[in-house]
Structures are given as structure tokens and as C-alpha cells.
Amino acid sequence: VRFPLRQGAGLAAALALALTPGPAAPGVRPAHGGTIRIGVPAGPGAGSGGRDALVERAVSAPLLEVDARGVLVPGALSEVPVPEAGGRAFRLRLRPGLVDAAGRPLGAADVAARLAALLSREAPSPGAWIALPILGADAVSEGRAQLLAGVQVLSPAELLVTLAFPLPEFPWALAAPPAALRDAGPFVARPGGSAGVLARNDRHPLGPAYADALELHAVDARAAGRRLEEGALDLVLRPEPAGTREARALPALTATVAVVNGARLGAGAEAVRRALRGLDRADLARRFVRGPAAPLVTIVPPAILPGAAPDAPGAARAGPGAPRVVLLADGDAPDQRALAGRLQVKLFDAGIRASIELVDGPRLAARLAGGEYDVALASVAVEPLRPALAAGQLALATRGPAAARRALAQLAGLEGDAALAAADRLGRELDLVPLVASGLRASSGAALQGLSPGADGTFDPGALWLLGGGAGREGAR
């Protein structure tokens, strides 16, 4: 929640993968043309954040991508980097002829600048976790250097990245949208146009998108279904299904955790932790999250690191010295409001009186960073990559850069049960109580094609197309 991620980043993640054109309706060839209208959650937090993140992804060219088999494949890079120097160095070679939407050549210096920009003090990026493992990250984030010491531009098309600690998952981090090259994606913002209207980028290095344009519309649940049925929207990405057609559940990649401020709660913190860990997380996921949801086993969503659903032991009633706590939550996020209400009731049942304070997303991030909370709910949309990277994202959003680096190092190279144990241990060390992972549903209209999932269940906007190129519809070409 340090950044406007939440559902917006979830949308971006959902659209990030499977750039290859997906299967269309049987016997129908993909058609070019037309404007694809996408409905995204409305509201001051979810709408703008989601739309902004989606726009960012649509106008950026990822360095690497994950294909339908779940394997890293080249994007803007010409090859998937292999570890050198014991897993602490990676050589990045760019695809030749890279240009942005304006035709300006893109090279290794742009990649280096992009990585350094993630650590900017003036405009903190939610993707800073990508650059944190790189040598010299502290100097950049503290303003002592402009460029990362661990990034050496060897030639216009090649650079060497040296890490501060071994992280075999680093190439996966390069597949995350924040590392992508700007203004080189399948779409480009129209000059002077609305931020939610994107035109096709014919210079996209992986080939132009099918659709002429992409429009993003913030819609609430009721309007989404109606407009989808009316044909005013082609795709709705919201937690609940829209319209009468079957909605596809996207992976639950938004991890919601309770951040406990032990220093502030003092001796009463343990009673609060016990009460929170005693929650029935499956019940939370079922009754208090509208979209596809799953109980969090650890701080890493089960879509990335599967594990057995935790037991719900229930909480023993706290004694007379139980603290009074304030639950801090994002008032613009309906799921957080519902979860906060459930936590309030269960803490009350455990003998702990809890009031709810709702603030907006930026204020919540500031309060978290300043330690001005008793218990805060944090929802972080993580990239569907590797457990270590997901843990790093969540640690960065809740506890800051040092915790993120620690999370990356502790889970580096771990998979399966080892990763589960490490993630569980990390969650306790960071005083985070995992609650639920949630996602969105994709409801599409009859004309939309190309909505095929990647290996992780996500899809790519550049692969979307309309039957007949949207001919006969208003706004189609």
C-alpha cells in the first residue's frame, strides 16, 4: 500500500503475460482494428490506481516475459540472462532495433536509467524491489548517486548487473512491469488525449497489437454488467462477475496482511497477534472478499507459493489488560473495509476492543511508513513471478526497503516447502499476519477475442481483438 498498487497492479499483472496471440473463436482469424473498451473498478483508489497501472503496462515493453509454459522468454532483451559470478551478476543484452513510440532508439543506458529511477527519492516507485538487490542501491535511494554502481553499461546493447547478494530470481524480476521500457509497449498514449485512451503503437518491438485503440473506463459493479450487456464495454475487470456471460477468475495475487505495530501496542501486542492468527482465513476469503480469493498460508499468495490452508484455532479470550486497538484500513478499498469489520468483530470476541479508522491509500502508506498505527491492513498486488520476489514486494510495501532486501535474501532460490517455511518465518519476523489473497474476474463481451490465459492465468491486452475488427461499432475503424 505504499504505492497505488492494489487492484490496478493486479490488472497490470493480469495483463502482463502471454503476449502471444491467444486462440480465437474456432475457425475465425484474428482481426485488426477497432477499439477495445475495458471497464475497471471505480473509486478514488481502485479506479485511478488500476487505470494508471494498466496504462503503464500497456505502454511499456517488458524486458522479459513469461510464456504459456511458465518459462521466461526474451522480451526487449534478446535472451534470458544467465547467472554469473555465483549468481551475483547478470549480463543483459538488448534486442537490436529497439525504438520507442516516437522512433527514438532505446539502448542499455535506458535500461540502466530505468533501474535507477525505481529507487528515486523524489518519486518512490512500487517497483523499487527490483533494483534493491543491485549493488549501490542504497547510494541511489539516499540520493548520493544518480546511477547504480552495480549496473555497468558495456555497450549500447549490453549491460552488466551486479547484485549485492545472490538472487537467482533476478531475471524474473526483469519481467515485472516496473522494469519495462516506457513508451515502447503495444499501445501509446494519444497526444493530448485522455489518460485512459491509448492508441496502437506500430513500432512495438514484438509486433503491433490487433486493436487500434484501448479505452479504460472506471465503472461500478452495477454499471459494469449493464454496459457489458449493452456492448458499451468489451471487457470488465472487477472482483464480481459482470453481465450474464461466465466470468473468468484471475489469479488471486493481491495479498492482504495485518501489520502489527508491536512497539506501539507493547505488552498487549501478543494478545492481538494471537487473535489475528486465530482467524479462520478460509472464512475470511469466502465471506469478506468479493472477488476470487484464497486464504493466505504465508505472506506469499498461494498462486505463487501453494501450501496447505492454515488451521483456524480460534483465539483465546484476552485478559483484562487487553489493549484497545485502532484498525487502520483503506477506506477506498471495499474488501479492506469488509475485512476490517470482520477483524473488529473477532477481536471483540477475543476481548480486545478495536475501532476502525479509514483513510485513503496514500495516507495509509504514510501512516505505515511513520509507524502511526496499531494494526493496519495492507493489500499488496504482487507480480506472479517467484516467491522471493513476491515476499520482497510485500515487505517493501509494509516494512520498507531494508525489510524488502531481507525478504529477497531469505527466500532467494527457495521453492516448495523450504520457501513456505522461510516465508512463514519471515512473516513472523516482520510482524505480519497473513489474511487473504484476492484477485479479479474478467467478464468479456461477445465480440472480444484473444482472452487466453498465460501459464499463471493472466492475459495480454496486446493479444485482444474484436470480431470483425469491431466493424459496425461506434468508434471502430
Binding site: 472464512d283 465471506r287 468479493r290 469488509a338 478495536a354
Partner: protein, 590 residues
């Protein structure tokens, strides 16, 4: 207590008595009237609250019935289980706001919450409050219940008027419960409606909401009279509020009410009126008593002035001022008393003068008698010696010379004796004032004993002086004369010898010099007279030695005392003040 004060108090008491007698009946009658007025106000407030609660309950029941019959509720019941639980859980909150209800929940027949608008986080749990409602309240009728709801301070109980209805059309029976909370806002409305202070309490007495009536600007009367921290006016705090300050309205079943509403209608105005009247009475009482006391004092002053003058005159006469007379004007018995007193004092003065004159004559007579007695004794031997000489001369006795020597020797002895007698009388009459100075007791004792380097045969002198005695303030020669007199008397008392002890010891404020002999002692009948002038038991004594010694002791600020038991000797003790103490008590002393 003076007679004048007694009379003043009596007048004040007479003035206050009638007022005191009227305060209680007036206060009682006033309190009854005001309490009846206050009770009427409380009744009216209670009636208004009951009416308002009935209206709220009907509205709540109607709203629940209306919602239960609405298409959206029917659709909810019909689709129950089809939509996601989270979608269902959020629905009651929307309905609650849209329908203007404070409490709204959908639950199944087991009271498991499907959706709750007042406590959304309860979804999925069995709600015992709803279970009790479904079990204990008939469908469609609002009843009072304590409901837990999410508030700004967390989950908190609120008293609410709640009704429930079955939701028709669903595969599984669902029930809709909703109502109006009696929270702070409605407490405020009730306070405005009744003009009183409202406290809404749960069955165990916990205050769930309260409100004060809105200020009317008409002073404290309009500011409410609810029990609370506000300080009562002085009169009310002095005399107490009017009885029955609050009225309670139980809510719910009579045998197990869910809560109650307390209304307190302002009573300060009425209590203040009572206090004003009673304080006016008390002020009149105080004024009457003061006026009575003043009048009594003036009258008593007139009556007691001659008595006071008599008392003052008596004190002056007692101090020796026999010329004191009472000058007050008085008539009647007091006048006769004053005149009699003055005559009596005049007689007393005359008698005192006559007595003094007679005493002086008697003293001179006594002196003359003693002098004649003392002088007469030596004259006889003198006369006989002269006659013997004359006879020897006439006869021409050859041993005339021897006779002459013997006779003139006897005459000389008697003349010396006469001189001594005259000297003592003279000294007694003209004892000089002592010239006092600090003298060490040790030195005084040593000086006395130095006069007896060889004590008489058979006499042993014992000297006992406490170490560290303070100096005494004394005329050294006069004190030595006293001690020497005492030692000589002691030696005279032991003609056969014996122990004689001279000791000096500390006393509070001074030093005591005591001389103790082992003689025959002083007969008890003589002991009180030993210091009287001219009293003596010794042949040839003048009886002035101890009298002079006692006078010297008194002029030093000390005393001379005698103690004796017959056959066991006697002890004379001279006590003199220490120099420091004497200086402190008599700054003018040297």
C-alpha cells in the same frame, strides 16, 4: 460569661424563637407543593417518551415489513447461496442506509448472519442477540433489545427497538431484522422533546447513551437537571434537590427488561425557589437575633453599669486602695447597694487607720518594755558595785583597791552589755540595704568555717559543698553575718559537743545553705516563733538575731527556714537566688 452577655443572648433568643418555630412548617409546605409540581413535569416527560418510543417502534416494524416485501429482498432470498457470500454480506449495509434504519441484518433461521448492516463483520457467525430476538419476539412487532453494533469506538452495545420478518421466496428461510437504535442522537431528540436529561441504560445499568436538554437561554433552569457533573446552585446544594429527581421507563418484558430510559426534568428552578424562601427566613432569623442581641446589650449596659462600677471598686479595695468609691448613678435597690458599699469602704478605711495607730503605739510599748527589761538587768549589778565601793571607801577598808578593781570591772562588764544591747536594737532598726554581687557559695562556706579554726571541744564541723554550684547574688558581709549567726546558734545548742554540718546544695533557681546541729531541737510550739523579733530561749539573748537573719534573707530575694524535731537537732536553711536567675528576673540588680 458576663451578666451583660447573658442578657444579650437572652434577648436574641427571644427574638429568634418565633421565627425558628415557623421555618419548618413553611419549608415543609413549600417542599410538598414544589415536589408535586416536579412530579407532574416528570409524568409529562415520561408520557412523551413513551409516545416517541411507540412511534419509533411502529416505524421500525413498518420499515422492516416493507423491506421484507420488496422485490430486492425477494431476489436476495431467492438467490441466496447463488451469489457469493461476500456479495450477500455487503447487501444489508446498502439496505440499512437506503431504508434509514440503524439496525439491519439478514440471518437464517438459526440466527447465523448472512448479512449485517450494523455489524458487517458478524457475517457467518450465529448472533445470539438475533437468536434471542427470533425466539422471544413475535414477528412484525418492535421490541427493545440490546444490539451490538460497530461504532466509532469499536463494537458497542446499543438499545434498539427491533422487529423481524421472514423473507419470502427463498429456498432456505431467511429472516430480516431491523430497527431503530436508541443512541446518542435519539437520546438528544428525547431530551429536546421532554426538556429533560435522558440516560439510556442497559439492564445492568450501564449507560448506553445520554443527552442533556438543549439550552434555552433562560438560565440554568433550561440547562437541564440531569444527574451529572454539573455543580448545583448554592441554595440547591445546601438544601438538596427535590425528591424523585428522575423517572425510569423499563423497556422490554416487565420481568426481564432489556434496558431502561431515565429522564430527569430540571428541578433546580423549583428547588431554587424553595431555597430562596428558606434563605429569606434564615436571613430574617439572623437579623432578628442580631437586633435582639443589640437591644439586649444596650439595655444590659444600662442595668449593669452600677454593678460593673461596684465590681471595679471592689477590685481596687482588694488591692488596698481604700479611698476607692463607686460614682455610678443608680436608683432603687442598686442605688442603695452603691451607697451602702461606699459607706462600708469608708468605715473600713477609718478602722484600718485606727488599727495602724494602735499597732504603732503597741510596738513602741513593746520596744520600751524590752529596752527597760534589758537595761534594768545590768543596772542592778552596777548599782550594787557602786554601793560596795562607797561602803568600802567609807570604812577605809584596806582591801579597797581589790574591791575597787572588782567593782569597776563589774560596772564595765555591764556597761558593755548595755552597749551591745543598744547596738543590736540599733542594727535591727537601721539594717543597711544589701550591696549584692555574685559570690561563689564555696567562698561563703569557706569564709564561715575560717572563723572556727579550732571548733569548741566535742564539736565536729562537717563541710558539704556540691561541686559546680552557680554563684549567688548576695551582699557578702550580710550573708556571712547570717551564716555566722546560724553556726553560733548551732554551737550554743550543743553545749556538750556534737556534729555540726554546713552544706551548700543546688535548688531550682538558686543555692541552699543549711546548718544542722545535733542539739535538743526546738519545741514544736516555739518553731513558728523563732523568727519573731525579741523571741529567744537563750538566757541573755535579745531575740533579734534570727529576726535580722530572716530580714537579710528576704532582702536578698531568698528565704530562711527552720526545721526541727525535738531531741533530733535543728536545721536552718538559707536559700539565695543564683546570680544569673536573679539578674534575669531583676534587671536592675547589680
Amino acid at each position: 460569661v458576663t451578666l451583660r452577655a447573658k442578657l444579650s443572648l437572652a434577648f436574641a433568643a427571644f427574638a429568634a424563637l418565633p421565627l425558628c418555630a415557623t421555618v419548618w412548617p413553611v419549608s415543609d409546605a413549600l417542599s410538598r407543593a414544589l415536589e408535586a409540581e416536579h412530579a407532574a413535569r416528570l409524568d409529562a416527560a415520561a408520557l412523551a417518551i413513551e409516545g416517541e418510543l411507540a412511534r419509533l417502534g411502529e416505524e421500525a416494524a413498518l420499515a422492516v415489513a416493507d423491506l421484507a416485501a420488496s422485490p430486492e429482498a425477494e431476489a436476495f432470498a431467492r438467490d441466496h447461496g447463488g451469489a457469493g457470500p461476500a456479495e450477500e454480506a455487503a447487501r444489508a449495509a446498502e439496505w440499512r442506509v437506503a431504508r434509514g434504519l440503524d439496525v439491519l441484518a439478514v440471518a437464517d433461521a438459526d440466527a447465523r448472519v448472512v448479512s449485517s448492516g450494523h455489524l458487517p463483520g458478524r457475517a457467518g457467525d450465529v448472533d445470539p442477540e438475533l437468536a434471542a430476538l427470533f425466539a422471544g419476539a413475535p414477528q412484525g412487532r418492535a421490541v427493545a433489545r440490546v444490539i451490538s453494533r460497530a461504532g466509532p469506538e469499536g463494537v458497542e452495545p446499543v438499545l434498539a427497538l427491533v422487529a423481524w420478518r421472514e423473507l419470502p421466496g427463498g429456498p432456505a428461510p431467511l429472516r430480516l431484522a431491523g430497527g431503530a437504535a436508541l443512541g446518542a442522537e435519539r437520546a438528544g431528540r428525547l431530551a429536546a422533546l421532554t426538556g429533560g436529561a435522558i440516560a439510556i441504560r442497559s439492564a445492568d445499568g450501564t449507560v448506553l447513551a445520554d443527552a442533556q436538554p438543549p439550552a434555552t437561554g433562560a438560565g440554568p433552569e433550561g440547562a437541564g437537571a440531569a444527574p451529572g457533573p454539573r455543580a448545583a446552585p448554592f441554595g440547591v446544594s445546601l438544601l438538596g434537590r427535590l425528591g424523585g429527581a428522575t423517572r425510569e421507563l423499563p423497556l422490554g418484558p416487565a420481568d426481564a427488561p432489556a434496558g431502561r430510559i431515565e429522564v430527569a426534568v430540571a428541578s433546580e428552578g423549583l428547588a431554587r425557589a424553595r431555597a430562596t424562601v428558606l434563605l429569606a427566613f434564615l436571613a430574617a432569623l439572623a437579623a432578628g437575633a442580631a437586633a435582639g442581641a443589640l437591644a439586649g446589650r444596650l439595655l444590659a449596659a444600662r442595668v449593669t453599669r452600677p454593678v460593673d462600677a461596684l465590681r471595679d471598686a471592689a477590685a481596687r479595695v482588694a488591692a488596698g486602695e481604700l479611698e476607692a468609691r463607686v460614682e455610678a448613678r443608680a436608683t432603687g435597690e442598686v442605688g442603695e447597694l452603691v451607697r451602702g458599699w461606699n459607706e462600708m469602704v469608708a468605715d473600713l478605711a477609718r478602722s484600718r487607720a485606727s488599727l495602724a495607730h494602735a499597732e504603732r503605739i503597741a510596738a513602741w510599748r513593746e520596744v520600751a518594755r524590752r529596752l527597760a527589761h534589758e537595761i534594768k538587768n545590768p543596772l542592778t549589778p552596777i548599782a550594787m558595785s557602786v554601793e560596795t565601793l562607797r561602803d568600802a571607801l567609807d570604812r577605809g577598808r584596806p582591801d579597797f583597791r581589790e574591791i575597787f578593781e572588782e567593782a569597776t570591772g563589774a560596772v564595765s562588764d555591764e556597761v558593755r552589755r548595755l552597749k551591745r544591747i543598744v547596738d543590736e536594737f540599733s542594727r535591727f532598726a537601721r539594717l543597711p540595704a544589701p550591696e549584692k554581687a555574685p559570690v561563689a557559695p564555696e567562698e561563703l562556706v569557706q569564709a564561715v568555717l575560717a572563723l572556727f579554726p579550732e571548733p569548741p571541744p566535742g564539736v565536729t564541723l562537717a563541710r558539704e559543698v556540691e561541686p559546680g554550684l552557680p554563684p549567688v547574688l548576695a551582699d557578702r558581709d550580710q550573708v556571712l553575718q547570717v551564716l555566722l549567726n546560724l553556726v553560733r546558734n548551732a554551737l550554743d545548742a550543743m553545749p556538750g559537743g556534737g556534729p555540726l554540718r554546713l552544706r551548700a546544695a543546688r535548688t531550682p533557681g538558686g543555692v541552699a545553705f543549711s546548718v544542722t546541729d545535733a542539739g535538743a531541737g526546738i519545741p514544736p510550739e516555739d518553731l513558728p516563733r523563732v523568727f519573731e523579733p525579741y523571741f529567744t530561749t537563750k538566757a541573755g539573748g535579745t531575740g533579734l538575731g534570727l529576726a535580722i537573719a530572716q530580714r537579710i534573707a528576704e532582702e536578698h530575694g531568698g528565704r530562711l527556714e527552720a526545721a526541727s524535731r525535738p531531741g533530733d537537732g535543728a536545721t536552718f536553711t538559707l536559700t539565695l537566688p543564683a546570680a544569673e536567675r536573679a539578674a534575669a528576673t531583676s534587671p536592675a540588680s547589680p
